[in-house]
């Protein structure tokens, strides 16, 4: 039996997590009735697209960065990776537009907005390093151009876009890891705070389940 108190650090972490996100809150099977718009599906579409991006990238990793230039199958997998990225950015921006017009940061949800925005910029950076490691004409030109912007603010001295090895490791290790962590954080915040009510919504005291208010 798990100890109710005590249990050291492990027990403390577990109790904290359970208090913040009990299973019914982590994976609810209901949602507020005011969620009656197709705009709400773009968050999950973005997540789904991210997963396809990661999986197709993983397949490309199986055979290395030069594979897609010499194999028809590799070219198709590269195309999957490209179009899943286009879809990912598409869905993410539509999701951003929707969340802006809903002022979804209301009710202590500023951090949800902030993590989302950081995901957006991290995705742009990840896509950028992706273009750099294609090992074709695009990569050459983009590297030559981007170096000027980065050098002008001192970043280029440490982040060398002409260094394929460095850019590859940022693209396939560092940035996907950070982006995934940010995305998970963002989603957990959504579960933690619940979906933001409509602007100027006032609940009817007679409505709603009678359970203690979420934090």
């Amino acid at each position: 039996m798990m100890s109710e108190a005590g249990g050291g650090w492990t027990g403390a972490v577990r109790r904290r997590a359970e208090r913040a996100l009990p299973p019914a809150k982590l994976l609810p099977d209901t949602q507020p009735a005011y969620m009656a718009s197709w705009i709400y599906v773009f968050g999950v579409l973005t997540v789904a697209a991210l997963i396809v991006v990661l999986v197709t990238g993983g397949v490309l990793a199986l055979k290395g960065p030069a594979w897609w230039h010499v194999s028809g199958t590799g070219k198709y997998v590269n195309s999957l990776h490209l179009w899943s990225v286009e879809l990912f950015m598409f869905f993410m921006v539509v999701h951003l537009w929707g969340k802006f017009f809903m002022a979804a940061w209301r009710g202590r949800r500023a951090l949800t907005w902030i993590t989302g925005a950081v995901c957006f910029f991290t995705s742009i950076g990840t896509a950028f390093t992706g273009y750099l490691v294609q090992q074709n004409f695009d990569s050459q030109w983009i590297a030559g151009q981007a170096k000027d912007g980065l050098n002008s603010v001192g970043i280029g001295a440490f982040f060398n876009v002409l260094d394929f090895g460095q850019m590859l490791m940022w693209h396939i290790v560092l940035l996907p890891f950070v982006l995934s962590l940010l995305a998970v954080w963002h989603i957990l915040l959504v579960r933690l705070r619940g979906i933001v009510p409509p602007i100027d919504a006032v609940p009817d005291p007679a409505d709603g389940p009678t359970r203690e208010a979420a934090q």
Partner: protein, 96 residues
């Protein structure tokens, strides 16, 4: 130092053989053209895309703004999808 009358960009006599003129012609035509297509190996030609987007790019000019038709299509579809998401009725009471 004597005057060195070597033609700077002619074929270099000496140890290295001249590149074949045929290769030169093919290469200069390939890269001199506006079609910067990658060469698929002949084996993979069967997997070429039905809609080849590798041709000359089309662009729309509007004052200082210059957008590719492709990007315009993507942005246009995004706006259409966004508006559609706002307007289309969401089915009520469906236990999806």
């Amino acid at each position: 130092m004597g005057r060195l009358g070597h033609e700077p960009f002619g074929p270099w006599p000496g140890r290295f053989s001249r590149p074949s003129y045929k290769a030169l012609y093919l290469l200069s035509d390939f890269e001199g053209s506006r079609r910067m297509t990658g060469h698929l190996q002949s084996v993979e030609r069967v997997l070429s895309a039905p809609i080849d987007l590798n041709g000359t790019g089309h662009y729309v000019h509007w004052g200082v703004v210059q957008l590719s038709v492709a990007n315009l299509v993507v942005i246009g579809v995004m706006v259409v999808v966004f508006v559609a998401a706002l307007l289309l009725p969401f089915p009520r009471g469906r236990g999806r």
